[in-house]
């Protein structure tokens, strides 16, 4: 199994633990990832606020490079990148004026875009391409007794994902259950984490983060599993400020790939777990089984 790979800026910066866990997990499952050469920032929500056409060009450059890389699907772990790349595909297909601008701009760099590449998220690929049965076989250290709140955030499931429901997605729930974890009923799974507002308007942004943390704790979760670098950062890095404002809500937030790595028996060091502000508690079963 082979995919092109678009890490996005976050995975080289604040979200590096995501890449540090994703790559060994994929390798462990025999999935080959080919990183796009000279990929650029997808533009995220910020660029789209400034200029729709240029935002389209920015994303389309990556899609064109992906087409050059090979016919395989393009994997992108960051929710914002996933949304922007998919949105660009839709916009080029639906709106002629955007299509014209993009083709014109790509022409300057001798790049071409045909729309052939599918943009996929690792969660989708792991559950639907690799398969839960294959993943189950690789589990050597089941996450028995670990109560996990599955947190999907906004931009993976809304509005372009076709692999799961926008309101009540279950793909990660099933994956976590396969790893042996106990999945906590967490109806806030697609609520917004505050996005960049945690930095720009903290009183608004951090309150959203707080509600997510508080409810995870109230529902008995030991850890929150996430699929997006910005969500992970918001839920992990602001505990100080949140605690000061609203009271203590200590709970660790990790990438689902980190939990997979642990279940596969990979070393926590290898999975970037030390990069958390709030460290994840030791696995209850960990000392017992090994």
């Amino acid at each position: 199994m082979k995919y092109s790979y678009f890490p996005g800026c976050s995975l080289k910066g604040l979200g590096r633990a995501y890449e540090e866990s994703l790559l060994p997990v994929m390798k462990h499952l025999g999935v080959e990832l080919v990183e796009l050469e000279d990929w650029n920032c997808c533009g995220a929500t910020a660029y789209m606020s400034v200029d729709e056409a240029k935002a389209g060009v920015l994303a389309a450059r990556n899609l064109a490079i992906a087409e050059k890389t090979g016919p395989q699907d393009l994997l992108t772990p960051c929710s914002a990148c996933y949304l922007v790349l998919n949105k660009t595909k839709h916009n080029i297909a639906d709106f002629p004026e955007i299509k014209d601008t993009v083709h014109h701009a790509l022409g300057v760099a001798n790049l071409t875009y045909t729309g052939a590449t599918n943009v996929r998220h690792p969660l989708d690929v792991l559950v639907h391409d690799v398969g839960l049965d294959v993943i189950k076989e690789k589990v050597v250290r089941p996450l028995k007794g670990l109560k996990v709140a599955p947190y999907y955030g906004c931009q993976l499931v809304r509005p372009y994902a076709t692999f799961d429901d926008a309101w009540n997605p279950t793909t990660m729930d099933r994956l976590l259950a396969t790893l042996g974890a106990e999945v906590v009923h967490y109806p806030l799974k697609t609520k917004c984490c505050g996005g960049s507002l945690t930095g720009t308007v903290p009183e608004a942004g951090l309150r959203l983060t707080y509600i997510l943390l508080k409810e995870a704790v109230r529902r008995g979760a030991d850890v929150i599993a996430t699929i997006c670098p910005l969500c992970q950062f918001n839920l992990d890095a602001y505990h100080d400020q949140i605690d000061r404002h609203w009271g203590p809500t200590r709970i660790a937030t990790v990438y689902f790939t980190q939990l997979m790595g642990l279940a596969f028996g990979l070393s926590p060091k290898q999975l970037g777990l030390k990069r958390n502000f709030v460290p994840m508690k030791e696995l209850p079963a960990q000392s017992a089984t090994v």
Partner: protein
């Protein structure tokens, strides 16, 4: 055939004198089509003697104009360019006949639905009107004098569906002395109305007004009631349908059972165990049960999915013992198919409620105290599972109740239409909740729609009784608290659009006013009965205003919610209308049918038999002695398939003959 004076010269060989009329239809046509210009154009075409434009051709003076011209100008052909022939063809045919001409010497041109209403450029629309007029003027030359064929009508009527609509239609017909078959899928008649506690806006008891009608069905000598039965086949033709009804085995002889319910007591299931359909799963029943206390017929039914005897044949059959010498229980019963002959059919198959699980953010199925309006209806009813007590799943009484309206209505992601009854239904339930529990009641609405008689007054009453109304579509129902008063409650998050801010409102119970949908099998049913469905899946009426209970198939009528959402008074009004339409046909004794049948010109028939297998109505037979095909006009429905297929051109069709169509083709292409 009318043959008075020169007007009687109807043959092709005579002098063709055509009158052409173009209708302005107020501004409907004239706003885009230059009617005088079309009239001038037509005036110059061969055979046209009179050509006029007029404001409303279908009005009395318009029709009078035609008749006068027939007399004065000795017209023997008439063409009217106006609306769709499906709307007014018969009007103008009648006018032509009143002028003393055979009504089939008339041709209609559709320049409204097919021209002025669908185009934007006046020049192009006028050009199109001219070419369509030209075609009709060429075509009408070939028209022949014909007479409507009359088909006798079987006087019996089939009513499909035993809800309030079907019940009312059946009783109306039966009271008029007609024999009626009433077929209902469920084990009892009564439909949705039987589940209601009270009815808006009068708050009269639903059972009190429905039950007498249900009994009347049972006892009426003219009504044959078949419950637990379904129509599986419809054959025959207008006025003479042959319908096959499947009667599912209820393992109880309806003639012998007296409804004493001893068998239910005796059933080896000591306790009721299975969800009770009538109480929408809020209570339990046994495998042998009576749907509800007022069920008609008062006959028990045995659920084949649950009864051990039916499933395995290995039961002690304590029910049989209890029934004793009455011997009403009969495990040998098999499914029966009965064939009946009827002249008219009234469809009253009703609706289905929207499945609230399709909108997950309202938490139905997730939070136990989120209920549907029908579930609350059962809770409010004194004969319901709680004896009329409104309680939460844990037995507590709610202190606050929220009603969410438009669940599965006015929503492009589920159903686009307004279900029409939910505003009033919710207000009725809200008042009952206030009355029973004194709880705080808040109604979340998009727009209050209370246009019926007494309905706005009912809204006012709701306001005066202290029910809160918040205008806003609820975004979500959650169970997490952000404030002390929200602990342990369901929290509604909504923008109060009139106050202009977002609110969080904690309540104990949430009622979802679920909308109406077409029945799940509406498509199969409409195929079986040769009807159409609109885009949304409701049965399509022949005309939205002028023929609201008729369908495109003569003798098949629709009434009640199978045509679209409506309340009880409207359903009953339609039931009466459908019954009256059927009565009109029955008492007339015959249906007039377009004389568009096919016939064979024997001398041209080569006897190749290629037409014989084509006819779906077996109207074509082969006469072995003459070596010619024959068409039985009574069986022919006028589709013209055989006409198109005959290699020797020896089959002709009245109203749609080759020369008529060819002249029309020539005509539409004669003008740019």
């Amino acid at each position: 055939m009318n043959t008075n004076g020169t007007n009687g010269n109807n043959g092709n060989n005579g002098d063709i004198r055509i009158g052409f009329y173009i209708c302005h239809c107020g501004h409907n046509i004239a706003a885009l089509v230059d009617c005088p210009a079309v009239a001038q154009y037509a005036d110059k075409l061969p055979g046209v003697v009179v050509s006029r434009d007029y404001k409303y051709m279908c009005s009395d003076p318009g029709q009078e104009l035609i008749q006068q011209d027939i007399r004065e100008h000795k017209l023997n052909r008439v063409v009217v360019a106006s609306c769709s022939p499906l709307l007014h063809e018969h009007t103008f045919r009648d006018a032509v006949a009143a002028g003393g001409l055979n009504p089939f010497f008339f041709q209609m041109v559709n320049i409204r639905e097919h021209d002025s209403w669908v185009h934007t450029d006046p020049a192009e629309a006028t050009a199109k009107a001219k070419s369509l007029a030209h075609a009709a003027i060429r075509r009408v030359r070939f028209h022949k004098a014909l007479e409507m064929t009359r088909v006798p009508i079987h006087p019996d009527v089939l009513v499909v569906g035993g809800g309030i609509t079907g019940i009312h239609a059946a009783i109306t017909l039966a009271n008029a002395g007609k024999k009626v078959f009433l077929v209902e899928r469920e084990p009892s008649i009564g439909g949705h109305m039987a589940k209601f506690d009270k009815t808006f806006p009068t708050l009269d008891c639903a059972a009190c007004i429905l039950t007498p009608k249900m009994s009347a069905v049972r006892s009426h000598p003219n009504i044959t009631l078949w419950t637990y039965s379904e129509v599986v086949k419809v054959e025959g033709y207008v006025g003479n349908y042959v319908v096959t009804v499947k009667r599912k085995p209820r393992y109880v002889n309806e003639e012998l059972c007296v409804g004493c319910q001893e068998c239910i007591k005796a059933c080896i299931f000591k306790e009721p165990k299975f969800p009770d359909e009538f109480n929408v799963g809020l209570s339990k029943r046994k495998p042998v049960y009576i749907p509800f206390p007022q069920a008609v017929p008062q006959v028990v039914v045995i659920d084949p999915e649950r009864c051990i005897q039916v499933k395995t044949g290995k039961c002690k059959k304590t029910c049989l013992e209890a029934c004793a010498d009455r011997q009403a229980i009969d495990f040998t019963q098999k499914e029966q198919r009965v064939e009946i002959k009827v002249g008219n059919i009234i469809m009253a198959t009703g609706f289905k409620l929207f499945d609230a699980k399709r909108i997950p953010q309202y938490g139905y199925g997730l939070y136990p105290n989120v209920v549907t309006s029908l579930e609350l209806e059962r809770l409010v009813t004194s004969s319901g599972p709680t004896g009329g007590e409104i309680i939460l799943r844990d037995g507590r009484h709610p202190k606050s109740v929220g009603f969410i309206l438009c669940v599965g209505s006015r929503d492009m992601k589920t159903n686009r239409w307004c279900s029409r009854t939910c505003c009033m239904h919710s207000m009725k339930l809200a008042q009952l909740v206030r009355e029973h529990t004194h709880a705080d009641v808040t109604v979340f609405y998009l727009d209050i729609r209370a246009p019926g008689k007494g309905c706005e007054e009912f809204y006012d009453k709701s306001l005066k009784e202290g029910i809160q109304f918040v205008r806003g579509r609820v975004a979500e129902v959650t169970d997490w608290a952000l404030a002390r008063e929200e602990e342990g409650k369901l929290v509604i998050r909504v923008e109060d659009t009139l106050a202009g801010f977002v609110r969080r409102i904690p309540v104990d119970m949430i009622v979802l006013a679920v909308g109406m949908e077409p029945q799940a099998d509406a498509q199969e049913v409409r195929r079986m009965f040769n009807m159409s469905c609109g885009t949304e899946g409701w049965f399509l009426e022949k005309h939205p205003k002028l023929a609201p209970v008729s369908t495109f198939t003569d003798g098949v009528f629709i009434a009640g919610c199978c045509q679209g959402p409506k309340d009880i008074p409207d359903s009953i009004a339609q039931a009466g209308a459908a019954a009256a339409e059927a009565l009109a046909l029955i008492d007339k004794g015959y249906i007039e049918q377009e004389p568009n049948t096919a016939f064979i010109v024997e001398e041209d028939c080569s006897g190749c038999k290629s037409c014989v297998p084509l006819c779906p109505f077996t109207a074509i037979t082969f006469d072995a002695t003459k070596q010619k095909a024959q068409i039985n006009a009574a069986l022919c429905k006028g589709c013209g398939t055989c006409v198109a297929a005959c290699p020797s051109g020896s089959i002709k069709q009245n109203l749609f003959d080759d020369e008529e169509i060819f002249s029309e083709i020539e005509g539409v292409l004669a003008h740019a």
